[in-house]
């Protein structure tokens, strides 16, 4: 590069030398002749020798031009090349017409520059796509507010959170976009305090949402605040789950405590002296026995449920005749059937073969039949029917018992949910039966439906997909 500059300096010096020489020559000629001639002859001399002067000037101009045009040509090409670099239409081997060694030096430098710029641009572009990819695909909403309080950047997730399209957000002042006084106040607070802020916000529109919001100041190298980055994380579902879990723990404790309290109460009374009376002892011991059965049942149901819920139950699928299984189950339920005096009918093909986990299907049917028997008055009819279609089996348990009203229908599959707490307790229910059924059906990728009318009866239907 330095070489090149020197070379041009030399060319310009040469032009100057020529210029000075021509002036000196003219001057010399003038002096030489003027000394010997009269003043009046000076004009004559000028007329006579002016051509020498003109010739010198012309030769100077021509010579200079030849030298300059080469340089100008190179400058033209450099500017064209810069234009090309800016347009990014050429990436290498610029300045092909460079001929002498200095031109080639410049050309080389230009080429390097072009390459360098190209590389930088590629890195920037690459980073930009990467950033864009990250922003668009992150599940958290993001918005960037600059010093003028206007939003300059948002991602797609925020559209869904705030219920506005990107176009409606970018360029707006933050309060206009968020419509959330607390969020906007916090953005302002972040501008003021220049520190990170984390807080929970509740959105009211379009749906209620709980957000974990992070506000962070964006600072320049000189520590000047340039903007605030807001990241919103929708934790509504998380909070809901937390609540379910809390409720569950509370429920379990309550359910376990009830039988335990009565066991402990009767045991203490016995110890206090009641054991001396045979009849009372027998009565109390009976209660203790039933209550511990109940406790056992709850614990067993809970264990079943947690096993199913932990999602690692293995399905031991095997083909079996449904009717045979139902017959077997009716034998296990015989005692209850006689107590409640219900009539049970089976409506299914003798040959109906099902491929599923037999123990799970047993548990499902036992629970459904148990309910059908428990929640019907004496002398009711229960129908267990099954049919098969192209791609699923359908089994239903129908009773003409007390039925379930509409508001409770959505909730009976919840753990511990019972329509009538007192009544089911006396029937020995835990409130977990249907929760277990639902989970088992889902483990088979099936569906369960319930249809019921108060005073008319209830029908539970399960659909299990057939193996392909």
């Amino acid at each position: 590069m330095k070489n090149g500059v020197n070379r041009y300096r030399r060319r310009i010096t040469l032009i100057f030398v020529l210029l000075i020489l021509s002036i000196l020559f003219t001057f010399y000629a003038y002096l030489k002749f003027d000394l010997k001639l009269e003043q009046s002859l000076i004009n004559l001399f000028l007329v006579k020798y002016i051509w020498i002067f003109v010739l010198v000037i012309i030769s100077f101009v021509i010579l200079g031009n030849i030298l300059m045009s080469k340089t100008l040509h190179l400058f033209h090409e450099i500017s064209r090349t810069i234009q090309k670099i800016l347009n990014r239409s050429v990436t290498s081997n610029l300045l092909q017409s460079a001929k002498d060694s200095d031109d080639i030096n410049i050309a080389g430098a230009m080429n390097k520059l072009a390459e360098h710029i190209e590389k930088q641009l590629q890195i920037i572009e690459h980073n930009e796509t990467r950033l864009h990819g990250v922003l668009e695909n992150m599940s958290n909403g993001l918005l960037l507010v600059e010093k003028d309080r206007k939003i300059v950047l948002v991602n797609r997730a925020i559209e869904e959170l705030l219920g506005y399209a990107t176009n409606d957000l970018v360029g707006k002042r933050h309060i206009e976009a968020t419509r959330h006084s607390e969020m906007s106040d916090t953005i302002e607070e972040c501008f003021r305090t220049r520190g990170k802020i984390e807080k929970e916000l509740i959105l009211y529109y379009p749906r209620e949402k709980i957000l974990l919001a992070n506000f962070a100041p964006m600072k320049s190298e000189t520590n000047e605040i340039l903007g605030v980055v807001v990241i919103l994380n929708d934790i509504t579902d998380f909070r809901k789950l937390e609540k379910i879990r809390r409720d569950f723990v509370a429920n379990v404790s309550h359910e376990l405590k009830t039988p335990l309290t009565s066991i402990k109460g009767f045991a203490e009374t016995l110890l206090d002296g009641a054991y001396e009376d045979n009849e009372t002892s027998l009565y109390f011991l009976n209660i203790i026995n039933t209550e511990s059965d109940r406790l056992l049942k709850i614990v067993k149901d809970l264990l079943d449920l947690s096993k199913i819920e932990s999602n690692n139950i293995t399905l031991n699928k095997e083909p079996f005749l449904l009717k045979n299984l139902v017959k077997l189950l009716l034998i296990t339920l015989e005692k209850q059937i006689t107590i409640h005096q219900v009539n049970i009918q089976m409506e299914m093909d003798d040959e109906l073969m099902i491929v599923a986990d037999k123990s799970h299907i047993s548990q499902i049917l036992i629970n459904l039949m148990n309910n059908a028997i428990s929640y019907t008055p004496i002398n009711s009819d229960i129908v267990i029917s099954a049919r098969t279609s192209h791609n699923f089996y359908e089994i239903s348990v129908k009773d003409n018992g007390i039925g379930i009203n509409k508001e409770n229908l959505d909730r009976i599959f919840e753990r511990f949910y019972r329509v009538d707490k007192a009544r089911t307790r006396e029937k020995g229910g835990t409130g977990l039966g249907l929760a277990i059924v639902k989970h088992l059906v889902e483990a088979h990728r099936g569906n369960i439906y319930v249809d019921s009318e108060i005073g008319k009866g209830t029908v539970f239907t399960i659909q299990l997909p057939k193996e392909k």
Binding site: G163, K172, R173, I175, E176, T178, R179, H180, S181, E182, S184, D185, I202, Y204, Y205, P206, E208, E407
Partner: protein, 220 residues
């Protein structure tokens, strides 16, 4: 002169932002009041009642600021309309927040009772009014008359639902004497929501006035 215009513009912007802040709070009280009723959550109801102070405070602030602007800048035409509209909208917002407080008071009054019927239509009505509130403020921000005009048909939906709820509650009262008190309270809530929608429609009218300079009734 130019500089003066510049400050005036930023003052108008500040007025607008105060109003937007107020609308955010109003939206919150409307939502929370019905939510408190749905869940019979008295704590939430108390929060709504508490929040009303902030809304009232903002209304006063907006009024004072608006008066100051009129006095010092002596605006004309659209600038004047901007300020007048802000005063009008803030008073409608304040009324909406008041009605939300009324709803929250119903929650307080029926605490400890079970709902005579699960709330379905009232939340539905609230949903429509919340949407209307959004649209009205959107139309204000963007000075978009076509948005404001959408409010008219939505207000019709509200009126219709209101009548349905009333009929249903009357039926419940007829069947169940015990439910009379609570049904009355719920009827009040429906009435409050119907009034809320009216105030929102007023906001729409204010926006139309702001943009065109003409008064137009959206609900008749």
């Amino acid at each position: 002169m130019l500089n003066n215009r510049h400050t005036f513009d930023s003052q108008l912007q500040e007025l607008k932002e105060k109003l937007l802040k107020m609308s955010g709070l109003t939206e919150k009280s409307l939502h929370d009041s019905v939510e408190s009723l749905k869940l019979l959550n008295v704590e939430k109801a108390e929060q709504v009642i508490e929040l009303d102070n902030d809304v009232d405070q903002l209304e006063i602030e907006i009024d004072e600021y608006a008066v100051k602007l009129i006095a010092t800048q002596q605006p004309v035409a659209k600038d004047l309309r901007k300020i007048l509209t802000a005063i009008k909208i803030s008073s409608d917002l304040e009324r909406i927040a008041d009605l939300s407080v009324n709803i929250a008071r119903v929650t307080r009054r029926i605490q400890g009772q079970k709902l005579v019927k699960p709330l379905i239509d009232i939340p539905k009505m609230t949903e429509v009014s919340q949407k209307m509130l959004r649209i009205s403020i959107d139309s204000y921000i963007n000075e978009d008359i076509s948005l404001a005009k959408q409010l008219e048909s939505m207000d019709d939906i509200i009126d219709h639902t209101y009548k349905e709820i009333l009929n249903e509650l009357i039926e419940i009262m007829r069947q169940d004497k015990e439910a009379i008190n609570q049904s009355q309270q719920l009827a009040f809530v429906a009435r409050y929501l119907e009034r809320v929608a009216d105030h929102i429609t007023n906001i729409g009218e204010s926006v139309i006035y702001l943009v065109t300079g003409e008064r137009k009734e959206l609900n008749d």
